[in-house]
Symmetry: C2
Subunit: 436 residues, 2 copies
């Protein structure tokens, strides 16, 4: 029924989730194309009653982080975006400041919203207005207005909107209609249905020359402030600027219902699970096991880089948030502790939980039993400390069977468990010693 | 931005997921109100390229069952619905028959689709047409047309549509527009935006007097068959029947993108996780532990019924798909094996995975270590057999510490792990012995 033919609704570039936290902000095409100041206004003053939750949806949390922080991160990652003005309700002001501080958002200014969406956006624009009291931001050439609850907008599309806004004065994202739109009679009977080809859904982001949108708000009526739905429409009516409409990807979707939070979480989890780094050690059996796991995880759509020793971690931090360490015969946890220390120092787990899996290979059943009791407590303790830093540590024991079929089976189960731990990132199972 | 103010997007009645498989089909209000034959046509011939998946989305699987089976189940559960005609593409015909057989769908007839959505719906209607060759179904008074990819439609709303269709000849679900609808110029500039209050999104289900919709399809043009989007519109144009429009709940949402599958899965999982049955045993410590777990799980929004002995299982099958058994000092798995046998006999896990958690309470550290080695293999073996029947068996060991703080901590962790196992229903972790 829908016009859209896009292949996927996952952000194109999985690496994008890594760049940011690694602090590497090397942008894409944008940096060269955008030679003028660009800022963002994120209206986030809504109460979100639609979610069926007490918390407004922009503040709902998944993977230990509120939705709005994911959206902010998306813009912060883009070097040609200079400032992000987040507009929140009075009662959310402190919470928002806390979020900005906790997740090290550096480009954000928090301002208070008005009694309607348009008043909130206008308040956001005023933050760039020298005339207002207090510290004000440098006025941008182009301002992007986006929803706090559309976290998956991508740089390429923002670039299109920004350049079109610079050229035309205004630009907005559109999407094909997902349902037939019908006009209803006052007695709620079918009046007529619209010809779909002629219409589009107006979405976010939208971009404007600052002067165009600011003037529109200065001139628009109280009625517009209260009931108007379209910035594009105000720009046309009060600044005579006709917006360029650009078809956006499905990743522009808006988190509206409780179920959408689950969808957003799964999109992030899937993206985080595309890669892993495996430390094999140097013993023949662990190296062989590493190769097998690498092969099996490829079937789970996971690219695993295998390394023989731990020294190379640092260079890998920008590649993945999943680490697998294989050690033999219950070697102590020192290597894992070392890795966790590195992860903490680089605050690699600030924005997304990092998974560390300790695979313990035993050469014999007996060996395994002798060790087991002493293993559990140390990994449990270490995992509890790590969890406070958003690092999820799990253990898996595997016994090297002399029987090829059994050995293969164990290696398969090891891979399955590893894939599941990485995919789910479930804090409830940290510190466990699972059996492959 | 949206008009909808509904509180939640989860099916109102969690029990609804249980009724069906327990074979109890006691309907709601509907059974009395509907004294005429009603049937359903489910067009499912789409290719679903929008999902970015090889499989058409109606056949995508979560919790071991394809999406379309969940939708079929919804209708099968309703006693006043007599037949469900599922229209599939030629290449999906065998797959669909397999699904019907595997999940014991008894009201379904599978027919082949046409080259467009309307042709497929018409083919579905023809299944009730005596004139067609082969076995035909009795012609219903009212036929409901629904999307195979809207699994969460509820009986109450279907009743509204059905009664309105009987009375008016046609009825359809509408929803508030989620985005502003705009008309675009040929150069893709903003032409004008529609006044939202006047328009609605037309959704599914829709209901018709059989004769009204059948006549409409017999009279409509090739163009309508190819490009028409609205059955309601055809009913108006070719049968002079003006459809009654009824605002539907957000649960009518349509699984469109890959992310929507994750959302659907989470809705089901949440509903399945609302209740559990706990067998405490009769030892003072296990009974006390049971009470604590019951209290803690209430905080996870889970209602736990506690029973002292296993004999009462059967009466509980219609209440939950989650079972927790506490036993002391590594008693053998016999009780668990017995429970699993009961679950298999009643095919309680046919439609939804059943979770069984074996909690093993040890009175001392030493006791625990002595037992551990012997425990693992049996539960692993039992869990593998059970998994083939869609029963997920997990083990948790907990040691009764004399230190109150430690004991309380363990009980808390036990509850957290239990809640997580029930919520996630992850087959990768079955047979594991976790440590609380």
């Amino acid at each position: 029924m829908q016009g859209d033919r896009s292949a996927s609704d996952r952000p194109c570039d999985p690496r994008c989730l890594l760049k940011s936290s690694a602090g590497l902000n090397e942008g894409k095409t944008g940096h060269r194309a955008v030679d003028f100041p660009v800022a963002v206004v994120l209206p986030a003053a809504g109460s979100g009653e639609r979610m069926g939750l007490a918390t407004p949806k922009q503040f709902c949390t998944f993977l230990n982080r509120p939705l709005i922080s994911y959206t902010i991160e998306t813009f912060e990652r883009i070097p040609w975006i200079e400032a992000i003005v987040v507009v929140v309700a009075k009662e959310s002001h402190d919470l928002m400041l806390h979020i900005v501080h906790k997740f090290h958002h550096t480009k954000v200014k928090v301002v208070e919203g008005g009694t309607s969406r348009h008043r909130s956006i206008f308040n956001g624009l005023q933050a760039f207005n020298e005339s207002t009291e207090g510290s004000s931001l440098p006025r941008p050439k182009v301002v992007i207005v986006h929803d706090a609850v559309r976290p998956f907008v991508e740089e390429d599309f923002l670039l299109k909107i920004t350049l079109a806004a610079k050229e035309q004065g205004a630009a907005g994202a559109i999407r094909p209609l997902v349902s037939t739109v019908i006009a209803t009679t006052s007695e709620s009977y079918l009046d007529h249905s619209l010809e779909r080809a002629k219409y589009r859904a107006s979405e976010m982001p939208q971009g404007f020359l600052y002067d165009v949108i600011h003037q529109a708000y200065q001139r628009c009526s109280e009625f517009d402030f209260e009931f108007g739905t379209e910035c594009l429409h105000l720009a046309l009516q009060y600044s005579g600027t006709n917006a360029k409409l650009i078809e956006g990807p499905p990743t522009l979707w808006k988190v509206t219902y409780k179920r959408d939070l689950a969808a957003a979480e799964s999109v992030i989890k899937e993206t985080l699970s595309l890669s892993a780094c495996l430390i094999s050690g140097t013993i023949a059996e662990t190296v062989e096991l590493a190769r097998t796991v690498q092969k099996n995880l490829a079937a789970h759509n996971m690219t695993v880089d295998v390394f023989s020793c731990a020294k190379e971690y640092k260079e890998l931090l920008s590649k993945t948030r999943n680490f697998i360490q294989i050690s033999a015969d219950g070697e102590r946890l020192s290597e894992i502790a070392e890795l966790i220390k590195v992860l903490e120092e680089t605050s690699h787990a600030l924005l997304y939980p990092v998974v560390v899996i300790w695979v313990n290979l035993y050469m014999s059943e007996e060996q395994s039993h002798r060790q087991k009791a002493d293993e559990l407590t140390p990994i449990m303790d270490l995992s509890m400390k790590a969890k406070q830093r958003n690092i999820l540590l799990y253990g898996i024991r595997i016994i090297h069977s002399k029987v090829p079929e059994l050995w293969e089976k164990s290696a398969e189960r090891l891979s399955e468990i590893t894939a599941a731990l990485i995919r789910d990132r479930n804090p409830a199972f940290t510190g466990q010693l699972l059996q492959a």
